[in-house]
Symmetry: C2
Subunit: 468 residues, 2 copies
Amino acid sequence: MGQRTASPDLHLDLDLRFRRGRGEQLVAALRQAIETGRLRPGTRLPSTRGAALDLGIARGTVVSAYHHLTAEGYLETVQGSGTRVARSPAPRAVSERGPDPGSRNPWRHNLRPGMPDVTLFPRAAWIKSTQRVLNTAPAQALDYGDPRGRPELRRALAEYLGRSRGVVTHPDRIVICHGFTQALGLIATVLAEQGVGTVSVENPSYPHFRDVIRLAGLHTHPVDVDGDGLLPGDLRGRAAVVTPIHQYPLGVTLSAERRRALVSWAEAADAVIVEDDYDGEFQYGRHRVGALQAMAPHRVIYAGTTSKTLAPGLRLAWLAVPADWVERIANAKRMADQHSAALTQMVVADLLLSGAYDQHIRQCRDHYRMRRDQLSTGLAAHVPGARLMGENAGLHALIRWSPDGPAEREVLRAARTQSLGLAGLGSYWAGPGPNPPGLVVGYATPPRHAYTEALDTLLSLLARCFTA
Amino acid sequence: MGQRTASPDLHLDLDLRFRRGRGEQLVAALRQAIETGRLRPGTRLPSTRGAALDLGIARGTVVSAYHHLTAEGYLETVQGSGTRVARSPAPRAVSERGPDPGSRNPWRHNLRPGMPDVTLFPRAAWIKSTQRVLNTAPAQALDYGDPRGRPELRRALAEYLGRSRGVVTHPDRIVICHGFTQALGLIATVLAEQGVGTVSVENPSYPHFRDVIRLAGLHTHPVDVDGDGLLPGDLRGRAAVVTPIHQYPLGVTLSAERRRALVSWAEAADAVIVEDDYDGEFQYGRHRVGALQAMAPHRVIYAGTTSKTLAPGLRLAWLAVPADWVERIANAKRMADQHSAALTQMVVADLLLSGAYDQHIRQCRDHYRMRRDQLSTGLAAHVPGARLMGENAGLHALIRWSPDGPAEREVLRAARTQSLGLAGLGSYWAGPGPNPPGLVVGYATPPRHAYTEALDTLLSLLARCFTA
């Protein structure tokens, strides 16, 4: 008990009703407390024994969580004085595909994944479409509306998604949301209402989305991923959230055979599949893979977004849902916030109809492909001990190496000393590991002029780590 | 049982864990099924006995719910053949302060409350501000951001709310939401996490908000309202949602004495007060009442919105929260949808800073005051048996009369035959009654050119009902 009184007090809100997932909750709660600045750099954490007693969980769980967050660079262990929140530069404000809570970009170079180059946002086209919309839209469009969203946008999307992503849908079955986080939350709410207890999620995957699912009272069941995508034999429960085109974060594409196995599982288990097609517009090969949804439109909820194509700040995503899901999702949306913002929807509809959206995506695709090539060539030339994976699509690729190479946390630590924003693969795993090392490189994140310097910083840093 | 098999099947999702509120749930579920078209006009409902057996609730609850919805005009009773969904013109798509699920305005004249005249939306100013924002904003503003919202808007609002509504706050304590429905949902989520079980709500009040509170697992406790506002002695639980400036829907203003009593209750009960200042900008008297929040900034969550000042379709609201609520609400917002749409926020910030927002409100206020006067004069001249209440502020007023006058449901029925959209007071009460009759008249709803005709339709209809 002496150890406890010597330990600083740690308040964290954990849901202890279920044994499963406590470690993940602890990791998420600590990460968030550090990112939001509630736990400041240098703050001393309680001992693992003290924290276990305080929080009412097993000591091994705390040990794993501390280890995990140390690997991510959030914590650091100081010989003889326990565990502290890592000191400068703090890793706060950098959760990829998630918000920066308050601070401006804290990095000199930023290669964290989940963001497009927002300097490419088509400002002139947006202004033009806004003018066109406000010069022509009926006043009623500015009133309360359909919880599914503006009919103009749902019509334009049904056409676009069919044409560009092979999605089989109809404007009546599309629901516009304030981003994919909201969309997933609505789906999770409906699943919980229907008595679904467990949702399968890929492992590794984006931790924030696992948190969103669990917030609705559901369990998440991790499904491992290999070079052909998720392992269908691992699927459990009556729902699965998947990224078949470009697995997040590994970047692999679900093979045709695994697609069939996934859909067969859903049929047999009476399960729904949530297809998060977050970056499907950016496929660099000759053959582009269409949405999984087309194989089973009655089993798959397809999700797309403008977060990678235009800008995350727009908070615009869409679901194409099976017919029997329309009313439930629309009702959940109505209870969440009535419907999505009307003007934004009408402007995006105009961008789609005018061709400006497709044109913008083509330009971005060409540009990101060049950046990808630069990364690929540079890595092969300067870091022969590492290899690039998942580079055929999307805005990020994975750098992997043998566990005999440098420790992931050492690479992250070195990156911090250079003020280089970088995501380790470690933060995506469902369990604390040991997990293979890797870096998730968001090559679309920096503005155009800053990319080469950011990449050079990464490559010389890696070269040093691999020869050290 | 023979009656059951003869009865059509009725599927409704009710939460039967709590005895309390089942009647309200049934009313809400039926209303929604009718509004969304799931139950079509003319559809026969099961007998009260059959429905009670099917749904597993007391028959009296079903009787009350059917009666309530008949009074609202959603159902009709046909001698000898039971209860049906009311036939044309259907009352669908008309939930005030809520969305129109799919259909265009189904009314020839619309005096339903909760909407501004969206034809007044300042389109030119919006375009101008959009141009200014997109010509000057840093690209980073389009990326993921602070869950509380854009700093430009929070700074502009802290200034505006202090100046215009007397709110005591700071940009750090403001959280931008996608409309008040979302804001209330976030607050309810946080309250539930903190173990608060009961939230006091005014009676009558907007049923949708009671549903939103209950969706978070909380109970709502009705607090009666008289000419001085809510009765503080009725308050229960550790939270209260109130409309002190212009009670919704009665329109009364909370007296100074009651304000003090409300705050004293909150201090004694360690409760939080949610001040829904939905139409505080529209006060027509010489003396304008400031926000209750100023009396106890540490106890009151202040909520404002652009839904009445600009347009509901923007889905923009703001909370000014006590310091110890910032992190909890910001975290709930992050889990709900990361943050509100950035461009919309920046445009509204520009409207506030450029003075265009204040100018627009002044113009609207003058215009709505004229409409209010027209209603007041017309009612006195043509319907001496009724009186106007709550007309000193906002976009709606209440027409009340003695229970010896025409039945509310008869007036609503007559309005439907004229395709006049009108809200009875009946739909706002927490219990099925008997409740005093009344009409909640949204005099801001019609476009400018259509108001006089809508008003004339209402007045001659009322004159007929009162002399029949």
